[in-house]
């Protein structure tokens, strides 16, 4: 899922990602993102840091609290490196600076997805071993 307050940016990026065989939906605010996650199972969230309403960091916190298994990739304007680092501390998978090359983003998403899969496997195993 892609979260960005700039509708055009989010839509275009979503189209390009779809073209690269990633199932993508885009929303335009932190609130919408949390609502969407409540209804649709999601693997990776691409999250813009600077948004009106609840900002990226706040959204990230909510996501990590409610869905700890979902990996988040942060998108920043260039200069707020501090914010990106803060995001990493909270638990974001990685960050990228806008504008980024689409290929870099795709690689990051694949990495994030792999990590998530391993996580899920492990969690399942743990659940199985604890139940069994």
């Amino acid at each position: 899922m892609l979260v960005d307050d700039e509708v055009e940016f989010a839509d275009t990026l979503a189209k390009r990602m779809k073209k690269r065989k990633l199932i993508t939906s885009s929303v335009n605010s932190g609130e919408d993102a949390l609502e969407f996650l409540g209804q649709n199972p999601t693997d990776v969230v691409i999250l813009d840091v600077k948004m009106p309403g609840i900002d990226g960091i706040q959204t990230l916190r909510e996501i990590k609290q409610q869905y700890p298994l979902i990996e988040v990739i942060m998108l920043t304007g260039h200069a707020n490196v501090e914010v990106a680092i803060q995001g990493m501390e909270i638990g974001a998978f990685d960050y990228l600076m806008k504008p980024m090359a689409i290929d870099d983003l795709v690689y990051k998403i694949q990495d994030a997805y792999k990590k998530k899969s391993i996580h899920v496997e492990k969690t399942k195993e743990r659940l199985q071993s604890s139940s069994g």
Binding site: E6, T12, R16, K19, K50, N80, K98, P99, I102
Partner: protein
């Protein structure tokens, strides 16, 4: 500008003048007041002293003269009482008496005479031929007939020489007769003439009619008014002495001291010019005034120097303040430009991101079958590539703008300066080789560890090195990079021998967006970013440049105190 300077000068001029006046007033006023009071008191007491002295003098002489007259009268009275009329009529006896008197008292008595009740001198002893002289009309004779003894005023008498008569009346067989003696005028005169003080002080005796009884030392023809005034007031100072000061005809102040003699018949007057009597006072006054004038001049000179110096201080302080103000304004300008820049950067970045993304989308779409083999496919791809390149350029500009606004990684780290410089040199080595530039590195050994942002310091030095390489790109040359410990600072110098920076540009090189590079090559932000960062660190950056010789940038980086002691 000139007018501004003019009003400034006027301000400092009036400041100098006010200070001068205040200092002079404060210093001189007390001096004048104190000196005046002291002088006034001194004047009064000195006057009193002089007056007392003169009174004493005149009183003493009054007693002297009175005593002299009384004694002479006593002598004659004794003579009259001791010897009879019969005995004294004998001229040779009389002559013996006179000789005896002259032997005892000196030549005070000139002659002796015996006069009968009709005024005929029946016997005479003395140097003049005055036997049988008729005195019935003489004033002294008439007075002597009324009282027992007489001291006459000074008169010329029969002999034509000033003298005065002492006469006593006795009775013989019921008939009065008179023994008279002439007192030598010169001897008497000496008594008074000897009263002399200073150059103008002298004494004389007047009778009730204001006629001189002694010969005054100076001519006193002119004004007898003061003396007649004394005579009028005589009752008021029966036994005492009276002092007045008044101006004489020539306008000089004169002191008159008077005492009555001979039971009020005569007046002893002592007079002296005030200037003479108070000559000591005058001298003191002159010395005092001279000292005060001297002191006044000293004060004025010192006040002048002091105020001048103080105003110079104030002026230089003002100048410093003005410079500070200018610097503050400059810094403020840079800061507000920074704010603006970061705002612009943020606003531009998003649209640029969208554009690049859209271009990417088109590129994606071009991969589709339907466009393959299209005529203009290559041209499309080239155009999209161009959009992406320019997008990247925009990104770089906004990046730089934001770092100018100091939003880059500014975390403080321990930085080893030498390692950092060597890294940068290695980075630039390839470029330097192309530009035909030799790089010399001369670093301070074991510099203290710096507590700064590594990224920022890198940015500054890389910027300076790049600028130097740019300057020498066409000609080639030598780049010297050195570091040195200077007090609380480490100074890094980046020196090139390129074409130098024109005077007109030097003042502007730290201004944002000022660049001499062709459009698209430089943003004009490099040095202003450096400036902002180094100022924030508490350091300084200075540029020195000489045309055709080269340019040197000196970066002063502060060493934190504790590090310094460790080092």
């Amino acid at each position: 500008m000139d007018q501004d300077k003019g009003t400034h000068n006027g301000y400092y001029y009036s400041l100098t003048r006010n200070m001068l006046l205040v200092i002079i007033l404060v210093a001189i006023m007390p001096m004048i007041v104190v000196s005046s009071i002291i002088l006034y008191q001194f004047d009064i007491s000195y006057h009193e002293k002089v007056h007392a002295h003169l009174e004493e003098l005149v009183l003493k002489h009054k007693h002297n003269i009175d005593g002299f007259l009384k004694q002479k009268l006593g002598d004659i009275r004794l003579l009259g009482k001791t010897f009879s009329y019969e005995e004294l009529r004998d001229e040779s006896f009389l002559r013996d008496r006179l000789e005896l008197l002259q032997e005892i008292y000196g030549p005070v008595f000139v002659d002796l005479g015996v006069v009968n009740d009709r005024g005929i001198q029946v016997a005479y002893a003395g140097p003049f031929k005055l036997g049988k002289a008729l005195y019935s009309n003489a004033k002294w004779f008439q007075m002597a007939m009324k009282s027992d003894h007489v001291k006459s005023d000074v008169f010329l008498g029969l002999r034509g020489i000033p003298h005065f008569i002492i006469a006593v009346r006795e009775n013989y067989n019921g008939q009065p007769w008179i023994l008279r003696a002439t007192v030598d005028f010169v001897a008497f005169n000496n008594l008074v003439e000897n009263i002399r003080i200073g150059e103008t002080g002298f004494a004389f005796i007047l009778n009730r009619r204001g006629e001189f009884q002694t010969k005054p030392l100076f001519d006193l023809i002119a004004n007898k008014e003061p003396y007649t005034d004394f005579l009028k007031d005589s009752e008021k100072f029966q036994d005492g002495v009276r002092i007045i000061e008044r101006d004489d005809d020539a306008g000089n102040k004169v002191i008159y001291v008077a005492a009555l003699l001979k039971h009020g018949d005569w007046l002893l007057v002592y007079q002296q010019k005030a200037s003479d009597a108070f000559s000591d006072l005058r001298r003191t006054l002159r010395v005092t005034i001279a000292i005060m004038l001297l002191a006044g001049i000293c004060i004025v000179v010192i006040a002048f120097i002091l105020s001048k110096r103080m105003v110079n201080r104030v002026a230089s302080a003002d100048q410093e303040k003005e410079m500070m103000n200018e610097q503050i304004v400059e810094t403020g300008k840079l800061a507000s430009v920074g704010e603006l820049a970061s705002g612009i950067a943020h606003e531009i970045n998003n649209p640029v991101a969208i554009m690049v993304e859209e271009a990417g989308w088109i590129e994606d779409l071009l991969e589709e079958e339907e466009f393959r083999g299209g005529e203009n496919l290559d041209e499309f791809k080239r155009a999209l590539e161009q959009i992406r390149t320019q997008g990247r350029r925009c990104k770089e500009i906004t990046h730089k703008l934001l770092s100018f606004a100091r939003k880059t990684d500014s975390r403080i780290q321990d930085v080893q300066l030498n390692d950092l410089i060597e890294e940068l040199i290695a980075l630039s080595a390839q470029r330097a080789k192309f530009a035909n530039v030799d790089i010399n590195v001369n670093l301070q050994e074991n510099p203290p560890i710096l507590h700064v942002s590594q990224t920022e310091l890198q940015q500054i030095l890389l910027n300076l090195i790049n600028n130097a390489l740019d300057a020498m790109e066409k000609t080639g040359g030598t780049l010297n990079v050195s570091s040195e410990l200077e007090g609380d600072y480490i100074v890094v110098e980046v020196e090139d021998d390129g074409p130098g920076i024109p005077e007109a540009n030097i003042v502007r090189i730290f201004d944002p967006f000022f660049t001499t590079k062709p459009v698209g090559k430089g943003t004009g932000l490099g040095l202003s970013i450096c400036y902002g960062i180094i100022k924030k660190m508490g350091g300084d950056i200075i540029v020195k440049s000489t045309m055709e010789v080269g340019t040197t940038f000196r970066v002063k980086i502060p060493i934190s105190k504790d590090e310094q002691t460790e080092a």
